[in-house]
Symmetry: D3
Subunit: 285 residues, 6 copies
């Protein structure tokens, strides 16, 4: 008898029961205001992962030994933000209940809110490390509260002051920067400097890492909806991520805003896949 | 003193008061389930209209004499379908109140619903002529009622049985085809045949024409979210449109589902612009 | 417990035991002489099948009731033609032994040879219906015998004179056309005319259908390695395929030469998917 | 000793002395008003000719026996229209002096003027057969007399009334159409019908054939600067060209307006190459 | 009454009378020798500016308060270099007469000559700061004097020795480099080092800044006609520009050579828009 | 009499007898496992070389004085690896016999093996300097020994331990890294550091330089089959290459893995061309 066509992110072939980390995709981009297409990110990164090796020479570890299960992509209804966030929360909650770490691949950044809702029910002392080009701190965007441009503001409403740590931010309106400086969040603009210090200060807290890939410079990562020049280099980001992994306990994670239609050459999808591999390997214990 | 940069669809330079027809764009694609990007359609077709002539050798008429005012694009909030439909209804209503004919360029097909809400308030006896590859008759799509895939069903809820005439339909699920055969709408599958007959039967009724450009064969019109092989040729569609214009009173109109990111060569945008020119010229009286 | 990520061609969710037809992909293009990339065809058509409906209004049938199992793609070693053909022959043979019909998606056209080797072991009286822009009748190409450009000549070596029926051929060197006229194969150049007659003459024989998608005109199907202007329209091909299905017993089938990297708009992949759906539905009994 | 890298259009390997026809490229597009890039046409069609066969099954002839020499591309100074036209006239004149037929590949349509200047010096009774989507009959374009949009008007100034026969025209301003109807040129709008009649009427005159490839429908030929929907199919054009070849004496020829940057799939370049092959074969005597 | 569709660069909504700086586009690329398309740069950067914020976190300033009026694009006749330069000179002169600073967006680099002609009439002591990958110092290019490749030589003819300061130059022929070393211009090859020193030396002179965007490395800015590897990083350029703004009086400015057709991902257009925003903010006083 | 169309890499117009270096292309990619298309690299880099200057401001030398002959591309049979390697070996051997230096442009990396076979026959003490993102040290890949992924292992079989020096390696499976550490080759992972030391140690040995362009970061060089983030910058690589040229005797060289179909903007092809120019200039003596 022949087998069905199972498609996993490369090397993520662990059984569910044995898995420490569970991948899933959240192909949603219904609130994207500029250039849509992040919905294709999770599918593309899985397909293109076969251009990667499972082995990391940076960490001398191999994905095939990393205890990762790939549960595929959610089916999310475009045009219904509320229901989509519920479906994400449910999947994420299920993984946490089973004692595993959720690893979500977006989709646009709003999907983080669904995940945070589930993770904070389990970890009340949660801190968010947020790497991004954009502050995402608006109270609303053209009247819409549940928008990618507001996602960190919505997360702040759940977690309160001092629980969100932002790095790499280089775009927003004046109000967002002023609101951040008001002490609600700890914002490190422009670069990733200071991330090591912050992580070491937070070493006792459960950490949720949300990586908006547009924190990378568009030269490295053109394939995203709103490219913002002046960002981080690939090795700068990789080193920051490995520092986070080493010095903290990541209880949940997401990687968002790969938009493969703006990635004619495929370099963005390949870079995203490599970062996901390194995160999956680095979060292991 | 220098002037501000006014950008109109080519030849649509009439003053508002003198205008018979008023163009506007509805850059919304938040419910698109497969490949988004129709939001860029109205902007692209306006920009690329400068590759066209204002003169039509088919009708021996010129756009510069056709009484068309271009009121630009609405600013629609992605992720908030309800508010977006209200803004469309409002713009369309305003144009109708001023005694002019609204001509909307999408965006995805759901925008038609906003326009129909306004037009039927003025014309209670309204009929819809619907050219499309897809039936768009689902009651819901993944639980979402206000979806592009349901737009004709929502219009039917407003207008009732026998008021919608569909042509070119070649995709849908079994239920949609059966529901159509139940007499709710008059569906002519596959081709545009019969459109002349239908139009002549309806010659006493006010007509709203909704043209989903994917009714064209993808060879002619690749730049759309869900290309469906086996459609109409360009001249076949142009002749059908001119026949509608000649034999009926069009009180409102839209052209939707141009998605320029899937139109690497620009031929779809150019074809859309040419069809819009011919419709604007043909609807004059 | 969450499930693994199973990815099938849309609607092909039948269990293996119940299946009448078994799909598999042969992602091989190592002998392509002009523009490679057909290796990505089978994967792309599966992914993009989700833009299709499972229901065919042409046949009033639905893929979810068609008894099709999708066994995924073979892993074929680029650079080793012999081994790749063996792996194809093995998969195809296995499906035939289990009493099912193999349906292969290429890949370049040479993959047909692997399949024919298996099918003719079971059906000694096999006939091949071959739709293609290119004759593929060379004895060798730059000294290479196992090349896409020679595949029908290699099949002829297995089946002998009078067993291959070619339609739509519009490219080849003078020798190929003369060799064909020598009575070895029955070649119908340029168009698909005569296919109904041929099929009815063959109604008692087991048929293998090999569809090189470049038989379509490049306007309809640009996404292929060697586009050749002057080909069949989509409806012309669809009608020919349905005529074959209705009047013959297809015991094996392949669809080859989709090369998605030359399909910027996606229309070729969508057309291929629709033809595969129609063939899967039409071959049922 | 190794040889230099000689690059010819496929099969055009005849020596200069033996040649009946001499190919050259005119990579100029400096006056293109909408989308430039036709300068790349001649180079692209030569490179991609290797995806063609030298043999034509339509004419049962082979390019390797057709007596064609490829003299490569001129080096034309962008920004200097006058000098560019002189260089074209000089190359063309040289070929005619040597008793051969010039065959120019553009470039934009203005290059035809350089060629006509040379050809009419030799053939005072010259007639032009002009296949195009655009009339190109403006007296000036934004004040520029030597523009692609005026090229046929400039040719008319050289040849006088009744010497230019246009087919397929479907775009222009009102003045161009009226001027044509004034009897200066014989314009057959929209399609290629009537071309056989005209050619037979002209069978005693030397003919210059200028083929603007945008006469083809953009579905068949997207790769051009100003695609204009509603054009000729490939077979319709091929049959018209073969009819011209058979019934007239072509003393010079050009094929213009391939713009490969708008031809992501390569189908336009392939179609242009095939038409050039058929013309080169058809013009032989 | 509805309004006409006014399209400005984001945040440039100041009235003309109040404006300190006036934007205009010069969509000309008729002399481009390699890959054309810079004509589309000004339009593209305006459209894509809506992916930017009006607020700069680098300068803590907002475009909506920067006193910028956008006067749209000139209509320039391709193929007529002389007339095009006159139209640019006229627009630029008009802005200067009204006591405002002209800010031109190209187009190819030759457009700078039109602007310099106007600016030097008002500022006889003008100095040019020129950032570019290419020296643009040829006396002619294929016999053409008014070519993008000669633009700085033509400017030198107007301003004389010692008035032009070049940075980032990494391409040219041997003669250009030797001519520069002859003391006619001050050329700083390869990088932007020394720009601070130069600007401080020039702090008493009126400065015209001409920024050829290909001074950026192609990784950051692929979307240009002649990409030249080994250029400046985005932050390196931004810092240099802010240093110029702070330490000098810019009386005119242009940003040229964005060619959006070579910018599939959009990152170049986005980077250009961000640099324009920063320049508009930095030049304010 | 007109000349044939000779096409050389820019400035490589030396006669064969006078030439010190002989260029040739090896358009082969039949074993590429992930994304094919490197076969188009040699042709593309030659065509696009006309966007470069022949003069290098880095070395103050000019290609037109560098003694380079361009012998064009081999015609290699896709699907027949053995024969293809033989044809490469033969061309390379011929050039060496004539006392000249072979400079091969790929194609995929396996082509290096053909070249090494010829070069080591002449230089028994040969050392290889290998710049690459990938180790290419597998013993086989899916059972295939003659694969791009095994090319350095095959070269090691010819040269033995300690003769291969790798730089920039950042991808491979665990076995490759361990095998390298076993002393068979000298691998410098991740960056190009140490290349100066190595070259000086090897200054007495004949050197073969093989440059897999994917050693560059994908931001600089997206146009390759398997982009691997975290690579070298352009200036870092250029400086390393000039250091090799200055301090060693290069007796043969290749540049491989440009895949222009993944290079929508053309920056990779332009960068490859510039590196080839610098190598051709730097290797002169």
């Amino acid at each position: 008898m022949l087998n069905k066509n199972v498609l996993n992110f490369i090397g993520c072939d662990c059984g569910y029961d044995e898995a420490e980390t569970v991948l899933f995709g959240a192909p949603f981009d219904s609130t994207t205001s500029f250039r849509p297409g992040a919905r294709f990110g999770c599918q593309a990164v899985r397909m293109e992962s076969f251009g990667l090796e499972t082995y990391s020479p940076y960490q001398d570890r191999d994905l095939s030994e990393a205890g990762v299960f790939d549960s595929g992509d959610l089916e999310l209804p475009m045009g219904d933000t509320g229901l989509s966030l519920e479906l994400i929360e449910e999947r994420c909650g299920r993984i946490l209940e089973d004692g595993k770490r959720p690893f979500m691949i977006g989709g646009e950044h709003l999907v983080t809110l669904g995940s945070i809702r589930a993770v904070r029910r389990k970890y009340s002392d949660l801190r968010i490390i947020h790497l991004d080009a954009h502050a995402d701190l608006r109270d609303d965007y053209l009247g819409v509260k549940y928008s990618h441009a507001c996602v960190m503001r919505r997360c702040w409403e759940l977690l309160g002051d001092g629980h969100i740590f932002q790095f790499g931010i280089r775009s927003g309106d004046r109000e967002e920067f002023e609101w951040a400086r008001g002490g609600h969040v700890e914002m490190h603009p422009f670069r990733l400097e200071g991330i090591g210090d912050a992580v070491r200060r937070l070493s006792d807290c459960p950490i949720y890492l949300t990586l908006d890939l547009d924190v990378l410079d568009p030269s490295v990562f053109p394939g995203t909806g709103t490219p913002e020049a002046g960002g981080a280099g690939f090795m700068e980001l990789l080193e920051a991520l490995l520092e986070i992994c080493e010095n903290s306990t990541i209880v949940g994670c997401d990687v968002v805003e790969l938009s493969p239609h703006y990635d004619a050459s495929g370099v963005s999808t390949a870079a995203a896949g490599k970062l996901i591999r390194e995160l999956l390997l680095g979060m292991q214990h």
